[in-house]
Amino acid sequence: MVHEEAAAFALDALDREETEAFEQHLAACPDCDAALEELRFAAAALAFAVEPLVPSGSLRPRVLDTSAQVIPLPRRRRHPRLLGAAMVAAAACAVVVAAVRPWETADSQVGFRRYDAKGANATLLVSRSGEAVLAARNLPPLTAGTVYELWVIAGDRAHPAGLFRGPIATLTSPVPRGATVAVSVEPTGGSSRPTGPLVLRAETT
């Protein structure tokens, strides 16, 4: 039996808790899982009822530049071969836990948490393992002899996490949950602790 909530799920009309609950339900309900593809097709077709629009020319390079700094996840096999039955079962359990679920939101399906920054138009993406990428726009322009420096602030300590000048930066230090990521303007070559003005601050949870 297909549950009616599958349509709300396909339309993204569930809140976060309902979505998580329905995803768990999906794993145990082959009928809903099977019906979802058709419901999703109908939902996605609604996108084509809207007039396509040309985004600004800067979006294409933004998309490609951001991706260039992120390594695609390896393809996961649903059914590992060349393993004994017990190992297959064990591996299947591990896959359920670790699997990338490509239909989920950009946040959860790539294991990213997403945070907006204060002080600048910026987005921080943090993976489950703490790897982080910052995409910042409208930072104050750098003057000669200066550079942006990233900081991971945990407790009362600020760890340097790399220097950058462009709109995208990959942090060189992991970002633990609850840490704050900040950006300051520092002399070229960077500093061992923040000395210049903080231009951006993103708190993780």
């Binding site: 009616e4 909530e5 599958a6 349509a7 709300a8 396909a10 339309l11 993204d12 009309a13 569930l14 809140d15 593809e37 058709e38 419901l39 999703r40 097709f41 109908a42 939902a43 996605a44 077709a45 609604l46 996108a47 084509f48 009822a49 809207v50 007039e51 396509p52 629009l53 040309v54 985004p55 600004s56 979006l59 294409r60 933004r62 998309v63 490609l64 951001t66 991706s67 992120v70 390594i71 695609p72 996840l73 393809r75 996961r76 096999r77 699997a99 990338v100 490509p102 239909w103 989920e104 939101t105 950009a106 946040d107 399906q109 790539v110 997403r114 138009n121 987005t123 993406l125 995409a135």
Partner: protein, 207 residues
């Protein structure tokens, strides 16, 4: 009648800067290249779906900058997860637009920016999409026509959810109906929409 993938492919021109022409490849083949870290292939996906994605995102978030953020994040997800997606044998256009929709809805809920104008009354903020092929407009008309054939209460629930970003609970409150009624309307409406689209020749790919 061409399906969705065909008409996207047909109206796509190679962008300057593409190192080679991938236009002859299926969506699945391009995503296979993406899953191996081929940035040109990601550019090809963007060229095929970027405009539909942006039009959708802008319809939902009503802000160009937010719409671009939604598209950027969705394509980052495409880049990261194309391999996993291919293993599931889904339909690429559905997957990509699902990611775009999710990001846009997430953003609009966070910003509390959403509105709920019916799609027919939407004024388009730019006139840039003037080079659409006639059949692209025709395809849009197919979906709009199918929407018009839905019972009004089903259509209303679906449009408010999909284009307005409302949750089912918000819809129940907004429309003054029990939650179960809203669920039933969306379910019956989406199923009926699927049938109407199939009747009109808009079909799932075999791949």
């Amino acid at each position: 009648m061409p399906n969705v993938t065909d008409f996207i492919r047909g109206e796509t021109q190679s962008q300057p800067g593409s190192r080679r022409d991938l236009g002859h490849l299926s969506d699945e083949a391009v995503l296979a290249l993406v899953s191996r870290g081929d940035e040109t292939a990601l550019g090809e996906v963007y060229d095929r779906y970027g405009r539909v994605a942006y039009g959708l995102a802008l319809r939902i978030v009503r802000d160009r900058s937010l719409a671009e953020d939604a598209v950027q994040e969705a394509f980052l997800a495409v880049w990261r997860s194309a391999g996993s997606f291919l293993a599931e044998h889904g339909k690429p256009s559905t997957w990509i637009l699902t990611l775009v929709h999710r990001r846009a809805v997430d953003l609009v809920r966070r910003e509390e920016r959403r509105r709920a104008d019916p799609i027919d009354e939407l004024s388009h903020p730019t006139g840039e999409a003037t080079d659409e092929e006639a059949w692209l407009r025709a395809q849009r008309q197919v979906v709009q026509e199918a929407l018009r054939k839905l019972p009004p209460d089903q259509r209303e629930a679906i449009e408010l959810a999909y284009y307005g970003g409302f949750t089912q609970s918000e819809l129940a409150e907004r429309l003054g109906q029990p939650l179960g009624t809203i669920k039933s309307r969306m379910f019956a409406g989406l199923r009926r929409l699927r049938e109407l689209l199939a009747d009109a020749g808009l079909e799932l790919d075999a791949s």
